[in-house]
């Protein structure tokens, strides 16, 4: 059983995951930020592999990717930086990135590197289910790397069942069909959608992401799923000067352990 399943076995509600881009704001800030997030109370982490053409991302994450690439971040360097990951971080860690850099690094090599440094799963939004099953699944499973699928309000019930069968880790519920960084607006339709998924009693845990930025949206999402994922809001924090000092307050704020204005 990998770290992701262990986590969801132990903790069923209000699981908090935080996303940030590797190599941003500083080329070598990746593992420091990961460690600080764990200390501050994040339950697991998603590290973004920067890409030149991130078409599912809004301006905040686009900008962080562009800067990270300019800083010199590459897939190869990221795996080098992650060599000591498991000495410093014990929560589950996933990599999130687009398919092209993974292809260029080599899918087999990518899975092997994940296993080697202790990465538990990957989220590749532009890797379709058909291609995953035909070409990548064996390699992922051999290396015990979970592939995380996305579901949107428009994903059909039949497809959700198929995704549930193929998943081992959790399923990523998009709060709406959108790029990253929009704010969550929970309308009656969104609540219906969240409730519909909840009532399907999927075998995998679910995490809601896209538009989760504060305690209000985090706790709303946690009513319907096992937890939620914060991305752009945290990447925006990294823009400030002494961001390392602000991480504990940010995480506690999201969890509602302190109130932030």
């Amino acid at each position: 059983m990998n770290r992701i399943s262990q986590l969801f076995n132990q903790k069923k509600t209000s699981v908090l995951s935080i996303f940030f881009t590797a190599g941003y704001p500083g080329l070598h800030s990746t593992v420091d930020i990961a460690e600080a997030l764990e200390k501050a109370g994040a339950d697991f982490l998603e590290i973004g592999i920067p890409y030149s053409d991130p078409l599912a991302d809004g301006p905040v994450i686009q900008n962080s990717s562009q800067k990270a690439i300019a800083n010199g971040m590459t897939v190869k360097l990221l795996f080098e930086q992650l060599k000591d990951l498991r000495k410093r971080v014990s929560v589950p860690v996933l990599l999130m990135g687009y398919v092209n850099p993974v292809l260029q690094y080599g899918v087999e090599r990518f899975c092997a590197s994940c296993a080697e440094v202790g990465v538990d799963g990957v989220i590749v939004p532009d890797l379709p289910m058909y291609e995953y099953e035909e070409m990548y699944r064996t390699c992922f499973e051999k290396n015990h790397v979970s592939n995380i699928f996305l579901i949107t309000p428009h994903t059909s019930e039949e497809r959700i069942k198929k995704i549930d069968e193929l998943s081992n880790g959790f399923i990523y519920l998009l709060s709406s069909s959108s790029t990253t960084g929009k704010s969550l607006s929970v309308s009656a339709t969104t609540e219906d959608y969240f409730a519909r998924i909840k009532n399907m009693n999927l075998q995998n845990p679910t995490m809601i992401g896209f538009g989760i930025s504060d305690h209000t949206s985090f706790s709303k999402a946690s009513e319907y799923a096992n937890g939620a994922i914060v991305g752009s809001a945290f990447v925006r924090l990294l823009d400030s000067e002494n961001y390392m000092e602000k991480i504990p307050e940010f995480v506690k704020g999201i969890k509602g352990e302190i109130s932030v204005s």
Partner: protein, 393 residues
């Protein structure tokens, strides 16, 4: 060997639909409605009628005598420049707007490089009374100013793409992001044979009218449907795919695709995709992409906005890998000289994109008497600024 798409959306090992889940329902709906539509006689009737009465098809196949004399071969020009709006792009947008109507979509988005596809999209939106939003790189907005004005006059909103190289690649990213955020009411009219399946196949079929006409026109003029050579320029590859389509299975017809070398293939400022690219995924399909070792897409360069793209359509990647077509490249300077030559020998000012295809004639060796068809994909009105600057007119 099949040069066409298989049931999984692949041409050989290229193609597919590498899209995030947000677009999955759209792509499925598109596949379904598109395949119903093309077997519906009512669609064929409406499409054919619009191409004839609105676009002005068939476009002439013109024997360019003075150019033929210069090169020692019979050179025919397929006059896509004479279409309404001045390029081949409208063949595709007429087809796709009829599709949008059947999809029940009220809002149309498009990306554009040279502005020809943006204009062709704004045109059919005006024709059908649909809202139109066009994404265009900031750099291209400047170098293709007349087309920006045409789009605005037709009621389209032109949104500058300000990321990356601020050209066609970035405009395409922005259009895809728009579609992700507005999946229910919006149809994305892609302007070339790129994007996720079924776009590459669909756009190729809408453009295939070019070679369909060429075959019977050539038969009328020469007695044979088969030329020795067919030439076309390649940005994403839609005019070339349309020009090649009905010749793919005619093994005697040599197909030549001309890419933009920009300032030279080794200059770092180029768009010579097959020469410098590697297999990769861009804008939803697996194809040949100019990229770094780490898989970051490289910013391309060409003097012509329509060829300034770091990939080619997956069907082209397949024609390249299977050697069915030959891929060559032409520099900015060579293209500009060829444009001037065509203008002065034939009285036709070509789009700079099309001029790349003409420039390759100069590199070919003719024995004498060969038949050559060159796709004159568009006219040069939009490029007057660039021509004025380059030639000091």
């Amino acid at each position: 060997m099949s040069y066409h798409v298989n049931e999984n959306g692949y041409f050989g090992s290229f193609g597919g639909a590498y899209i995030p889940e947000m677009l999955y329902p759209n792509i499925e709906e598109l596949k379904r409605v598109y395949s119903q539509m093309i077997s519906d006689p009512a669609f064929t009737a409406e499409y054919t009628q619009l191409l004839r009465d609105y676009v002005g098809r068939p476009s002439p196949l013109y024997l360019a005598e003075r150019l033929s004399q210069k090169y020692g071969a019979s050179i025919y020009l397929k006059r896509e420049d004479l279409n309404h709006t001045g390029a081949h792009k409208i063949n595709n947008t007429v087809g796709q707007i009829l599709l949008a109507e059947r999809l029940g979509k009220k809002r149309i988005i498009a990306e554009t490089g040279a502005g020809q596809h943006g204009v062709a999209t704004a045109t059919v939106c005006a024709l059908k009374g649909l809202e139109c939003v066009v994404y265009m790189g900031e750099v291209d907005i400047e170098r293709q100013a007349p087309n920006v004005a045409r789009m605005k006059m037709m009621g389209a909103t032109v949104i500058p793409a300000t990321s990356g190289s601020k050209t066609l690649k970035d405009a395409t990213n922005e259009a895809l992001r728009d579609w992700i955020n507005n999946p229910a009411d919006t149809h994305y009219i892609i302007g070339s044979v790129v994007g996720p399946h079924p776009y590459p196949d669909m756009v190729a079929r809408f453009q295939s009218i070019i070679s369909e006409e060429t075959k019977w026109q050539l038969k009328e003029k020469t007695g044979s449907t088969e030329p020795d050579y067919v030439l076309a320029c390649v940005g994403g590859g839609s005019n070339a795919m349309g020009m090649f389509y009905h010749f793919l299975d005619d093994a005697n017809v040599r197909l030549i695709a001309v890419e933009a070398a920009g300032k030279g293939v080794d200059s770092g400022e180029t768009a010579a995709t097959t020469l410098l690219g590697k297999e990769g995924v861009l804008h939803g399909s697996r194809s040949i992409v100019m990229q770094t070792e780490d898989g970051q897409v490289v910013e391309p360069y060409s003097i012509s906005a329509g060829l300034d793209y770091p990939g080619i359509g997956p069907q082209h990647a397949h024609l390249y890998a299977s050697k069915r077509a030959q891929y060559v490249s032409i520099t900015d300077d060579e293209a500009m000289e060829a444009a001037l030559l065509l203008t002065q020998l034939e009285g036709i000012i070509p789009a700079i994109e099309s001029a790349h295809a003409f420039a390759y004639l100069d590199k070919m060796q003719f024995k004498g008497g060969e038949t050559v068809v060159v796709c004159l994909s568009g006219r040069g009105d939009k490029d007057l600024n660039t021509y004025m600057k380059y030639f000091g007119l």
